[in-house]
Amino acid sequence: MNSQNNTEKVLSVRGLKVYFPVKKGIFKKTVGHVKAVDGVSFDIYRGKTLGLVGESGCGKTTVAKAIVKLVHAHEGEVICKGTDLLTAKPSKLRELRKHIQMIFQDPFSSLDPKMTVGNIIGEAVKFHRPDEDTEKLVLNYMEITGLRGEYYKRYPHEFSGGQRQRIGIARALATEPSIVVADEPVYALDVSVQAKALNLMKNLQQRLDLSYLFITHDLSVVKHISHQIAVMYLGSIVEIFNSKDLKNKTVHPYTRALISSIPSSTPGQKREEIILQGEIPSPMNAPPGCKFQTRCQYKTSICEKVKPELEPINSSSISSAQKSPLGASNLPPVQSHNSVSTMPNRNKHLQGNIPASELTHLVACHNWRSLPFNIDNLHFNIDKKAGNIAP
């Protein structure tokens, strides 16, 4: 187990943008872009989990895919081990690939049905560690993920969803990654199986000191596994907070609405109901200004014009934010202490000077201070210990 106070960043994402061109007309000209991811920045720390939640179509999967380079990112940086993955040379990239692995949503389509379990897991081993005894390693990973050794020669279709997800996890682990991007890994599973998978992932995190980017749209899942939660809406992160703050200390109206829509777990329990009207707008023609304005009941005129940036919620930032409410730099620059070289700051909004230890709770909303539910929730006495971990 690593120390609780580890604040080593293993992955820094800055100003990530992924646009998909929309082609129309006789000559299939590009008439616009789906701004699937529109400037997303976050850090992932060693041994910690960042949960990414949001509605369908808000760009969660695209973030994940951009990080592992399954889709081409338009702009931004993804720094791992001091190298920007997005601009890395192919040889370097291949080297880096083994540090970031991915677990997929659908346990049925993520395993090649024509390969045995051994081959599926062994593929990664053979590729990245060709000198070692593949079978031994594979059996080792199978054991870690709770798969019995005799499954080695079986095919995926002989397994249940939960077991398949374990195979997927074993495959991801086989390259000995430090970061695992998990895209809705428990979505397709039954409740009881979900619990198993989550326990396994947590367990593995502790044993192997893994960092997760855990994507889901289920807040109860994310609360359970994450140290820090980022809420995404239409390609942008609207709020990042410590998972312990989920219930009472969130600020953004969208986050609040998400939380309130979770059904309560016992009958007869009253809960605050903020049911969002309408659906998430198409990312192709997102409104200017705040993207959430179309569904926000607290909309003011500024929301229509200015896009809110993430700003910290804590005592120090409050004062600074009050002084210059907007445009303040929010995210700290990537620290150079952990072998991450200082990188050129291509994006203006990335510049800033807030120390990492103060990063606790960020929100992108113009009016968060005046929202009714924040009155009693907002306690600026941030738990120092948690703040240090940054989840």
Partner: protein, 372 residues
């Protein structure tokens, strides 16, 4: 305003004995003094139900699938009942037979390989299993409607939303196309679709998942059924949309006084909506009771485990509770209690004999030898 449409239907069919479309409801001709009824009550678990409120009663329903690999008992002796205006939630793991039971009610089991092998489905006192296909057709969509799990594939891609809604109105209400279409538009606005006139003319692929599910609900509600079967109506949808849809169903249920069978595997949804709950495991009901019974005094080890393993934001535990093992292969179920291999409290008898229901009060029962 849109409500009047629905109310009118009700009047036509219920109050004037012979509805204008000429079809006679089985319920009107055969009254509740069905000779079979007393017998049913004798061994039916829900002993003290108020008879007059009883809308649907399933007794010992068996639906089997004769597949290449062998016999699958999709639902194996299921009994439950639904009262007028009540919500019955059916929960259970994937493959536990929730959908099969529901589809058996409407006799929509694909044959081959499926066959309803036994039992009775009494709807307003009449056994649906004895109905001819034509009689059955008149029940479907009219008195019992169903919403399916997959909003993406459950709508016909080459028909507009309006057409698909008006179809059942034309069928069961004898409307002409124009009337049906204007009713369809009203139904669309009833289920909360903005700009219903334009949406009525659109095809499923032009609608988002949430909207499609609303259209499905509109189709189901078109003839104001007495019973709505909603088979996981929200599991394919987003949390926010989920909440909207559930609220909509609840609202409409209240308005129309429908009974609802809500199939789900989300305990949260059950907690919020259900009056009665049936917990299924491997084609059987393992515990049955009011929502309060199920959540506050669960008896079956499976249910207990299930409730403990449920994720929720109030749960502060670090490690989640896990029911060990997997559900058994439906092709070779254990002889005794199907949960026995995973049961933390199993006994000798569990391997040998299938447990019968044991009652705790009037309705609440569990099928487990622990309570024998």
């Amino acid at each position: 305003m849109p409500l009047t449409v629905g109310l009118n239907h009700k009047k036509i069919t219920n109050e004037s004995g012979a509805p204008n479309n000429g079809h006679v409801r089985p319920a009107d001709t055969t009254n509740l003094k069905n000779p079979l009824k007393t017998k049913i009550y004798k061994d039916f678990p829900t002993k003290c139900t108020d008879n007059d409120d009883l809308l649907l009663q399933i007794e010992n329903l068996k639906t089997f699938f004769h597949t290449e690999d062998g016999l699958i008992r999709g639902c194996d002796g299921v009994s439950y009942s639904v009262k007028k205006g009540q919500t019955l939630a059916v929960v259970g793991e994937s493959g536990s037979g929730k959908s099969v039971t529901a589809m058996s009610i409407l006799k929509l089991i694909p044959d081959p390989p499926g066959k309803i092998a036994g039992g009775r489905i009494l709807f307003k006192g009449n056994d649906l299993l004895s109905f001819t296909p034509d009689e059955m057709r008149k029940i479907r969509g009219n008195e019992i409607a169903m919403i399916f799990q997959e909003p993406m594939t459950s709508l016909n891609p080459v028909m507009t939303a309006g057409e698909q809604i008006s179809e059942s109105l034309i069928l069961h209400r004898g409307f002409n196309k124009k009337e049906a279409m204007s009713n369809a538009v009203e139904l669309l606005s009833l289920v909360g679709i903005p700009a219903p006139e334009t949406r009525a003319g659109e095809y499923p692929h032009q609608l988002s998942g949430g909207m499609r599910q609303r259209v499905m609900i509109a189709i189901a509600l078109a003839c104001r059924p007495d019973l709505l079967i909603a088979d996981e109506p929200t599991s394919a949808l987003d949390v926010t949309i989920q909440a909207q849809i559930l609220r909509l169903i609840k609202k409409l249920q209240k308005q129309f006084g429908m009974a609802v069978i809500l199939i789900t595997h989300d305990m949260g949804v059950v907690a919020e909506t259900a009056d009665m709950v049936a917990v299924m495991y491997c084609g059987r009901i393992v515990e049955y009771g009011t929502s309060h019974d199920i959540f506050f005094s669960p008896r079956h080890p499976y249910l207990k485990g299930l409730l403990r393993s449920v994720l929720n934001i109030d749960n502060e535990e670090d490690d989640l509770y896990i029911i060990e093992g997997n559900i058994p292969d439906p092709l070779n179920l254990p002889e005794g209690c199907p949960f026995e291999p995973r049961c933390p409290e199993k006994m000798d008898i569990c391997t040998k004999q299938r447990p019968e229901p044991f009652f705790f009060g009037n309705v609440h029962y569990a099928c487990c030898w622990l309570h024998a």
